[in-house]
Structure formats: structure tokens, C-alpha cells
Amino acid sequence: MATISDIFVVTTIVFSCFEITAYGALFSSLHQTLILNSSTSQGQVLQAGEEQVTITWSLNKNYPTGTDSNYKIVKVKLCYAPMSQLDRGWRKSNDNLNKDKTCQFNVVTKPYKPSNNNFTWTIEKDVPSASYFIRAYVYDYVGEVVAFGQTTDSHKKTNLFQITAITGRHVAINVCAACFSAFSVISLIGFYLVEKRKGKSLRR
């Protein structure tokens, strides 16, 4: 019966998903050891798909030497500012990094170097219109998050920039949608007239 095999399939998928939602590192336990800078200024508006952001990062020298001994990889991400998370549960921040949805776009992944890091990113076409900041997570040899850096302050209020998304609309789509819609209505009127004529001929 469809129900039983349904339960089977779904339960199998579900149990395999359980591993993903296991306990993860807490953001509040990370040290902000990277200094991150971006080419954007406060309130700047950029167009997705066209404009670029240049990001530079380096280790904060104020930390004792040896802090970065286990740093292996840096992942730079585009993150939502609090005002773009309002009334949008799918962008919610969570201290548990496995459940955190603040940073959903990957900018670049690079091996760790204490200085001389930069990257110019062309904003991808699937980035929505919102306010953003940039954050980089540092991973160790085992793949665990150990540190981070970000372009904004701890309250995520300063140095935010805007991105305007592409509309996704094309002239071809507009024309097709309009034509098919018009055709539907016109054919309906045509049917109505045919039916009326049939009615008249029956009366004769």
C-alpha cells in the first residue's frame, strides 16, 4: 500500500538526516582573530550579477603568537544583517552553527595565510535584495570551526551594505506570459460565440 512504503522511504531519509542536525560548535565560543575588510562602504548599494566586492583579511596581531597554529582553511561568506532577518525565519541566527542560517552564500574558500589575503567577488545572480555584511570562518585540520572575522561590529549594526537582486524577468518571458494569457481569454470568447451560433442553428 502506498502509505507503508511512503513511511519506509521517508523514515530512512529522515534517520540519515539526523546526523546533520547533531550538536555543532557555538558561535559565541569562537574568537574573532581575523581582521576582515571589504571594499564596500556603509549603505552602498550594489547590483547582483554585475558589481564586485573586494575582501581582504589578515590575522589580528594583538593575539598571542601560535593562535593560528591549527588554522587550515578560511571560508568567506555573505551574511544577512539583522534588518533583513526580520519576519524571515529561514534567515534566523542561531548560536549553534549547525542551525545558524545567517550566512547563506559562499564567497570564496582559501587556504589560511596570516596576511596578504584578498579576493574580488562578482556578486552572484541568485543573491536576494537585502542588507549584508561579510564574515569569514576559519577551520582547522579536522574541519571544525575555530575562529572568525567579520566586517561589522558585534551587534551587526555598522558597515552594512545593500545588494539589489536581479529581477529574473526577461523580455521573452514577459511577451510569452502576455500572449498566452491573451490567447486563453480570446479562445474562450471564441468558444462562447461558437456555442451561441450552435444554439441559434438548433432553433431553426
Partner: protein, 503 residues
């Protein structure tokens, strides 16, 4: 031409299926496409399926659309409510249209008029435009009424529950199928090279075209009644062209229609609500990913393949043995059990338990929908369309009410909302106890001791003048054919009909 002698009036065609005196089929053969009965069945469920696919095409793609159009959770919630609220009035209007113009013209017209809303979804660019296209697309769910009306016109009392249940169930399937179809179409178009924000727009052309094509099929291949279309039957005098105010009056003054409208709001309305909220529920409470949540959501709707038809068939089986009283008892029991399962669903803490309870709940909830439309065809003959429309509209009102009270904003957590929804189901199903047919009885009382017959009940809808003009003939035939609702204990009573059924 006003000669009402049945023998000379219509040319009795040879039908593939066995028919009764109204030329309605007495058997239901799902693998056949014979005209006009089974062809009408397949046309109606396919076109209704297309409308369901279109109406619920947005939810599985919302993760992409919400980023493209910058929607908030409130915007999405409002659009979901808009999608089911248009059909409230649409269904009542469709009921009237079916009574006056016949299902073929009414449904193909509605489907073609709402197809532009689906095409134009691909050029939506804001929360407002998104809400508007979902609102207008939702009107297409009024085809439910034409589906049920068409089945009630084509199939006799013995199999009408089954026909209505399967047509309704397989149509409702669209709500589940779309959760699988749309993501598939989207990823296909995305793979071919379109960016996500363009791919979802192109994807909407698929349900739109499917919907438009199904309307053409209904128009060209469909037929209102076994003996022909309304226009032809009106001209030949076989079918009297009724006037709208009388039809409306007899629908509105029949309390049974109102009770069924309320109870349908708590099986079908609940089903629509769950369609809108269940993916998000599993996603948020159990942290499954969106794809998995979509599969779970789809399986709720896909149960319609057998559960709603099962309800319709159960109604017919109960009627065989216990008559109308059996239909009413079965409806009350199944829907109340659905309510209890809904209460349980909100309380279950584990994922696998929730999925299991949800699936069993879906079966009872959808079976109750099928059982409701085992009763609806008998409430009124003259105003069948409007009664169907009122019941259908009541279903959508239930969906709107339930979502507004329990699933909007942060007043209740979703699981609390689900439990309260279950309690509301149980309470709003109790009025079935008040439905009473003088000729057949109700849940707690047998048929009237005055010996009222089916004829008495259905003839109450016609005035003396109308009877003198012979407008009541089709109702008379129906009355005769519905004596099976007395159940097996009673010998078949003498019927006023003299036409012999074709075999």
C-alpha cells in the same frame, strides 16, 4: 413540443455502461473512457488536478521566490490564505453557473479565465503581485464544484459516492503532486542554464499550459448530461431552463446544505490548511531539510489517491446496507476520528511518530471529504449545483478561518495550533447529528412515520405552476432512482417512473 411523454421524447442511445431511467450510469468502470459517462469522469478529474497543481505550484518554490521577490513570512502567509479564499465565492458562483449553464461550459470557462493568473505568476515582481496572482489562481479550485456536479449528473445514486470520491480525490492529488513536479521542473530548467530567479518563472508555464489544455479538452470532448448538452436539452424541451432566484432560494433555505458546508470546512478546509503549513512544520520542529519536508508534505496530499475515493466508496457501501443513515454515521465517525488524530499529531514529539500519525490522519481527513459528497447529491435535486457550491465554499472558509486563527503570527506554536485544530474538527462535526431526511431518517431517528417518500421530499422544491408545466420531471426521475437510500431492510417501493433502463 410540450409533450411530456417520456418514450417519445429522447432517442434512447446505446450506452456502453448500464444506465438507469435518467441515463445515468449505474456502474463505474475506472479503466474505461467510454462516452459520455467515463469520458466525463476522466475529463473532470484531470482538469481539476491541473487546477490544484496550479494553485499549489508556488509553495514548493517559495524558498526561491521569497528571495527573488523579497517576501517576509507574513507576505507568504497572506498569499497562502489568499490562494484558498478566492474559491470561497468562486465555488458558490460555480454552483449557480452549473445549475444554469451546465458543467462543461462553466468549468472550461473558469479554467480558461484563471489560466492567465498562472501565466502572469511568471512576471510577478513584488509581495503584492505575488498575493494577487495566488488569489486569482485560487479561483480555479472552484472547478471542484463542476466536477462533483458533473459526476452527480452522470452517475446514479448507487455509484455517485464512488464517482464523486475518485474524481475529487484524484483532483486533490494535484496538491501533492505539485510539491514533487514543480521542484523537478525547476531543477531541470536550472540545469539547462537559467539562473534560479529566471528558472522558477519559466517553470510556471508548465502548470499554466496544462491547465489551459485541460480546459480545451473539457470544452471539445465533454458533454453536460448523458443525453446531451444543456443548450441542446433546453432547446428540445427535455431540460427546463431554470431561473436563478428559485434555484438560489431552494438552496439557501435547505438547512442541510448549511450543516454540510460547516462540516466540510473541517475536513477539506483542514486538508488545505495542512497543505499550506505542514512542510514548514516538519522543517522547523524537526529540522529536516527543505527537500525532505517537501516529500513529507507531498505524501500528505498523495494519500488522496485512495483515501478520498475510499471515503466515497465506503459511503456507497454503507448506503447499500443502511441507506442514508449509514452514510451519515460513517461520515460522522470518520471525521471525528480524523479530529482525534489531529489532536494527537500536535502532541507527538518524535519525527517518525509525527509522520506516521500525519499519514493516518490524512486518510481519515480525506475519506471524510469523500463521505461528505456521498450525502451532498441527495440534499437537493433542483439546486444541486448551489448546494455543491455552498459545501465546497464552506470547505475553503474553513481553511481561511483555521489559518487565520491558529497559523498566523506567533500566538500559538504550530504544534499547539494543530492540536486546537483537532479539537475544532471534533466540535464542528457534531452538527451532522442534526441532518434529517423525512424519507430516510437521520443519525438518531428513522424515517418519518407519516410515510413520506423521496418524491414528496424532492417535489417540495417545485411550485404547483411549475409542476403543471412539467418542469419537475427530472427531479421525479431522480426521486425514483434514489429509493436505494432506504437501505436493504426495506423492499424497493413502487416508483413513479416507467422508463426501463438500458443494459
Amino acid at each position: 413540443m410540450e409533450n411530456m411523454d417520456l418514450e417519445s421524447k429522447s432517442v434512447h442511445r446505446d450506452f456502453v455502461l448500464p444506465v438507469d431511467s435518467e441515463d445515468k450510469a449505474t456502474k463505474f468502470r475506472v479503466y474505461s473512457v467510454s462516452a459520455p459517462h467515463m469520458r466525463a469522469f476522466h475529463l473532470s478529474w484531470i482538469s481539476f488536478f491541473a487546477c490544484f497543481v496550479s494553485t499549489f505550484a508556488a509553495p514548493p518554490l517559495v524558498p526561491i521566490i521569497r528571495d527573488n521577490l523579497d517576501l517576509t513570512a507574513t507576505d507568504i502567509g497572506n498569499a497562502g490564505i489568499a490562494a484558498v479564499s478566492g474559491a470561497v465565492f468562486g465555488r458558490i458562483a460555480m454552483g449557480i453557473a452549473c445549475d444554469l449553464f451546465g458543467s462543461r461550459l462553466a468549468s472550461s470557462a473558469l479554467i480558461l479565465l484563471t489560466a492567465p493568473a498562472v501565466f502572469l505568476t511568471s512576471i510577478a515582481n513584488s509581495a503584492v503581485s505575488f498575493l494577487l496572482v495566488r488569489f486569482f489562481t485560487g479561483f480555479s479550485l472552484a472547478t471542484f464544484v463542476s466536477t462533483q456536479f458533473w459526476m452527480s449528473s452522470m452517475f446514479s445514486a448507487k455509484v455517485v459516492g464512488t464517482a464523486n470520491g475518485i474524481a475529487g480525490g484524484w483532483g486533490n492529488l494535484g496538491g501533492g503532486a505539485t510539491q514533487l513536479i514543480m521542484p523537478l521542473v525547476f531543477s531541470l530548467i536550472h540545469k539547462i542554464g537559467a539562473t534560479p530567479f529566471t528558472a522558477w518563472r519559466i517553470a510556471f508555464f508548465i502548470p499554466a499550459l496544462f491547465q489551459a489544455l485541460s480546459a480545451y479538452a473539457v470544452f471539445f470532448f465533454g458533454q453536460d448530461m448523458p443525453d446531451g448538452d444543456y443548450a441542446k436539452l433546453h432547446k428540445s424541451g427535455e431540460k427546463h431552463k431554470d431561473n436563478i432566484s428559485d434555484v438560489l432560494y431552494h438552496a439557501v433555505t435547505n438547512y442541510r446544505g448549511w450543516i454540510l458546508a460547516l462540516t466540510y470546512g473541517y475536513c477539506f478546509g483542514v486538508e488545505l490548511t495542512v497543505d499550506n503549513i505542514i512542510a514548514q512544520y516538519f522543517f522547523d520542529r524537526f529540522n529536516v531539510n527543505l527537500h525532505t519536508a517537501g516529500i513529507i508534505a507531498a505524501s500528505f496530499g498523495l494519500a488522496n489517491l485512495f483515501s478520498r475515493p475510499g471515503g466515497g466508496t465506503l459511503s456507497d457501501i454503507m448506503a447499500k446496507r443502511f441507506g442514508m443513515r449509514g452514510r451519515l454515521w460513517a461520515l460522522w465517525i470518520m471525521q471525528t476520528l480524523g479530529g482525534l488524530l489531529c489532536v494527537l499529531l500536535g502532541k507527538v514529539e518524535s519525527l517518525s511518530g509525527s509522520i506516521a500519525v500525519m499519514l493516518v490522519f490524512s486518510v481519515f481527513c480525506q475519506a471524510a471529504c469523500g463521505l461528505t459528497f456521498g450525502v451532498v447529491p441527495f440534499v437537493s435535486r433542483r439546486s444541486l449545483g448551489i448546494i455543491s457550491g455552498m459545501t465546497g465554499g464552506g470547505g475553503n472558509i474553513g481553511a481561511v478561518l483555521t489559518q487565520v486563527i491558529f497559523f498566523r503570527g506567533t500566538r500559538y506554536s504550530t504544534e499547539t495550533g494543530i492540536t486546537y485544530m483537532g479539537i475544532m474538527i471534533i466540535c464542528c462535526t457534531l452538527p451532522i447529528m442534526f441532518i434529517y431526511f423525512p424519507q430516510w431518517g437521520g443519525m438518531f431517528y428513522g424515517p418519518s412515520s407519516k410515510g413520506l417518500t423521496e418524491e414528496d421530499y424532492y417535489m417540495k422544491e417545485w411550485s404547483l405552476k411549475e409542476k403543471e408545466n412539467g418542469f419537475h420531471q427530472s427531479s421525479m426521475k431522480f426521486a425514483g432512482n434514489s429509493t436505494s437510500e432506504r437501505g436493504k431492510k426495506v423492499e424497493s417501493a413502487p416508483t413513479p417512473i416507467d422508463g426501463t433502463p438500458n443494459t
